[in-house]
């Protein structure tokens, strides 16, 4: 429906002068949206300052609280980075939560733990990437619809996780794994640093490499990309491997946070990651999206949860608000790409 490729009529309608204000320039669209999201985040902090001044108005209190918000956002944040790539390329990955669960279980079995933390980390990453590879091969070469292939993976990966763990919580006492969530550099836990590094790498990969340009291209128009010489299938497959790898990284984070691997880990992550990417401005139809936007989307959801809990409010209302935010964000997004012709006409005058 709505892609970045404008109908030809619009091109003539719209004045193409570049000497416009920042807010009217087409290229600053992402920047505008991200500024709006930062505004929402600030608004949430201001609400915090009024409702819990003892936390949000004291320097150390605010710092500690935001470290918790970031820690809670870290695993879902890493997954959202992978999800953003997949969605920009016009796909979807419903299996992220289940792959996380499988990787977390696989890396905490008695056998894996006996090899030490290096193998635990390797197992999580390899299981994530392999599960992603299966998704990718099925979608790119088996021509399965992404929704169906990853839905199947979502069901079976969680089943396998349940089978391996026998539904037990597999506790790990490994000091290195545990230290990832509890030890800090300059007051910032390692997992938050990993989250920020992954986000930065994701940004570079999307904006500064041919891999990133290809991703956007096949999301915008796969046929044109193919004609332009892009190996669309290979690219599609690699994107799901990337998403799976992100699930593996997130699995290590969750294991270090909870000291355990469990088949219940990552429940509902697929929808949280999609929601965060969408309010960050990623088009569900592909062709457009930013890592920074997705990052802000994740932080907004994490901050809202935190705000509700520190104020002792029931979490059911929070779900309603989360739903509302998604709707508003998408409405704004549609407005941007011009789904309201009557508005555009008045703007052109």
């Amino acid at each position: 429906m709505s892609t970045t490729i404008e109908p030809p009529v619009d091109v003539h309608d719209r004045p193409r002068v570049t000497a416009q204000g920042f807010w009217q320039r087409e290229g600053s669209d992402h920047a505008k949206r991200n500024l709006a999201l930062i505004g929402v985040l600030l608004l949430l902090l201001i609400i915090g300052m009024f409702t819990r001044p003892d936390i949000f108005l004291s320097g150390s209190g605010l710092w500690q609280n935001e470290v918790v918000v970031l820690s809670q956002a870290s695993s879902i944040g890493v997954i959202t980075v992978g999800m953003t790539f997949v969605i920009i390329a016009g796909g979807i990955d419903l299996s992220v939560g289940a792959i996380l669960a499988l990787a977390s279980v696989w890396c905490t079995t008695v056998a894996t733990q006996s090899y030490g933390p290096a193998v635990m980390v390797f197992a999580a990453l390899a299981v994530g990437a392999l599960a992603g590879l299966v998704n990718g091969v099925l979608i790119a070469y088996g021509r399965l619809v992404a929704f169906i292939a990853t839905l199947a993976m979502m069901v079976s990966a969680r089943g396998l996780a349940q089978n391996i763990s026998q539904s037990h919580t597999q506790i790990t006492n490994d000091p290195f794994i545990r230290s990832l969530a509890s030890d800090k550099i300059l007051g910032v836990p390692y997992i938050v640093l990993i989250f920020l590094v992954v986000t930065a790498l994701g940004w570079v990969l999307l904006n500064r490499t041919t891999f990133g340009r290809r991703t956007v291209a096949i999301g915008g128009n796969p046929e044109a990309s193919r004609l332009a010489g892009i190996n669309v299938r290979l690219q599609t497959m690699l994107l799901y491997v990337l998403s799976g790898l992100c699930c593996g990284i997130a699995a290590i984070m969750v294991v270090s946070q909870t000291w355990s691997g469990s088949n219940t880990n990552g429940e509902g992550y697929e929808l949280s990651a999609i929601a965060a990417a969408i309010i960050g401005g990623t088009l569900l139809t592909g062709g457009r999206g930013t890592i920074v936007g997705s990052l802000l989307g994740v932080l907004i959801f994490s901050q809202i949860t935190n705000l509700f809990i520190v104020n002792g409010l029931p979490l059911d209302i929070q779900r309603v608000i989360n739903g509302g935010i998604i709707v508003v964000a998408v409405l704004v997004q549609q407005f941007r790409v011009g789904s309201f012709p009557f508005l555009k006409r008045t703007a052109a005058k």
């Binding site: 918790v68 008695v110 219940t264 002792g312």
Partner: protein
């Protein structure tokens, strides 16, 4: 060309090696494989072999430790009797799936059925149907809406769990009316959660105390970690926290340790082996847990066998098993933990 093939060989070898390593990593066998089930043996009156009976068993799919222990206990206890054949059917994901599974089970005419329903009210009609077909139904833990749908009910005491936790916290904080108490329940929509919280609040009231911070988790380690991490932010200083469930408690303890907090004491719920180990060693803020024992599944199998053979409970006067058994919620502390260790279930 040869360079290319060598690279392929190396890559292929590495992939194979990694694959073999991964495949070897799924094992969960421990050397000291102590059985993690609670069974009862050596009770002469009830154990003397009687007429052979077939017992059907249905419980929700094990997605966490407590439910897993329920099924494991039932199977282990049945295996202890030479005259019992256990027919376990998978209960599926929801009440309709369990109803369908039970219809098949009823058609095969077992002597008794031990049933832990997905939802007590929704499974009531099936319980009735089985009773009408002459099958003895032992209702396990989640109560039917009609007592006629079961021959006997054995369940834990959710309200009592809250009472036990309330007394433990109350005794420790007696007279400290400004004490800050936190509570981390499981899934908030469930009746059992409401009962537990009510028991806790009612008992605390007797001590002039009340719950100040309450954040619901979801019975999973991850939800426990998230709830506790945010709760600790909401309350810069705490005196006591009751966590309803030891399964999610693994995550709760992790969050407390990550926040570096130790000014309060934590009370658990259910009675997992992991929680008992922490209570025994005293290495964390967890000082007590109140039980909701999955050993009730073993007892339910014993009851089903007795009822199907027309016997009563040996130490009681009556000739039939009782209509209803509600288990005590016991408080496990460092003083009595050794006695309870064998009953701890693997979370």
């Amino acid at each position: 060309m040869s360079d290319m093939s060598r690279r392929r060989l190396l890559l292929g070898g590495a992939a194979l090696g990694a694959g073999a390593l991964l495949a070897g990593c799924t094992s969960n066998d421990t050397k000291d494989s102590e059985p993690q089930t609670n069974t009862k043996a050596g009770n002469a009156a009830s154990e003397a072999p009687g007429k052979p009976v077939t017992i059907g068993f249905s419980a929700p799919a094990a997605d966490h430790g407590w439910i897993g222990a329920i099924t494991a206990n039932a199977k282990a206890q049945a295996a202890k009797f030479s005259d019992v054949t256990l027919k376990a059917v998978d209960a599926g994901k929801d009440a309709p799936a369990q109803i369908a599974a039970l219809e098949t089970l009823i058609a095969s005419k077992p002597d008794a059925i031990v049933l832990l329903p997905q939802d007590g009210a929704q499974l009531t009609t099936v319980g009735k149907k089985a009773m009408d077909a002459g099958i003895i139904v032992i209702n396990l833990d989640r109560e039917f809406s009609d007592a006629a749908a079961s021959f006997c009910l054995i369940k834990g005491d959710n309200y009592g769990m809250g009472v036990a936790a309330g007394h433990y916290v109350g005794e420790k904080l007696k007279g400290k009316t400004d004490a800050v108490i936190g509570e981390i329940p499981g899934i908030d929509d469930l009746q059992l959660t409401k009962d537990r919280s009510k028991g806790f609040a009612d008992t605390l009231k007797g001590y002039g105390l009340s719950v100040k911070h309450r954040v619901a988790a979801g019975f999973t380690v991850q939800s426990g970690q998230a709830a506790a991490a945010n709760l600790l932010q909401a309350a810069p200083k705490l005196d006591a926290v009751w966590n309803h469930d030891d399964d999610q408690g693994v995550g709760v303890l992790a969050a407390i340790q990550q926040a570096g907090r130790k000014e309060f004491f934590l009370v658990g719920g259910a009675g997992s082996r992991d929680a008992m180990d922490h209570i025994k060693s005293g290495d964390t803020v967890l000082t007590a847990t109140v039980t909701y024992p999955p050993s009730m599944a073993s007892s339910a199998i014993i009851l089903a066998r007795l009822a199907a053979q027309g016997k009563g409970m040996g130490d009681l006067v009556e000739l039939q098993v009782p209509k209803m058994i509600v288990l005590q919620s016991e408080t496990i502390t460092k003083d009595n933990v050794d006695k309870y260790l064998p009953l701890g279930f693997k979370s």
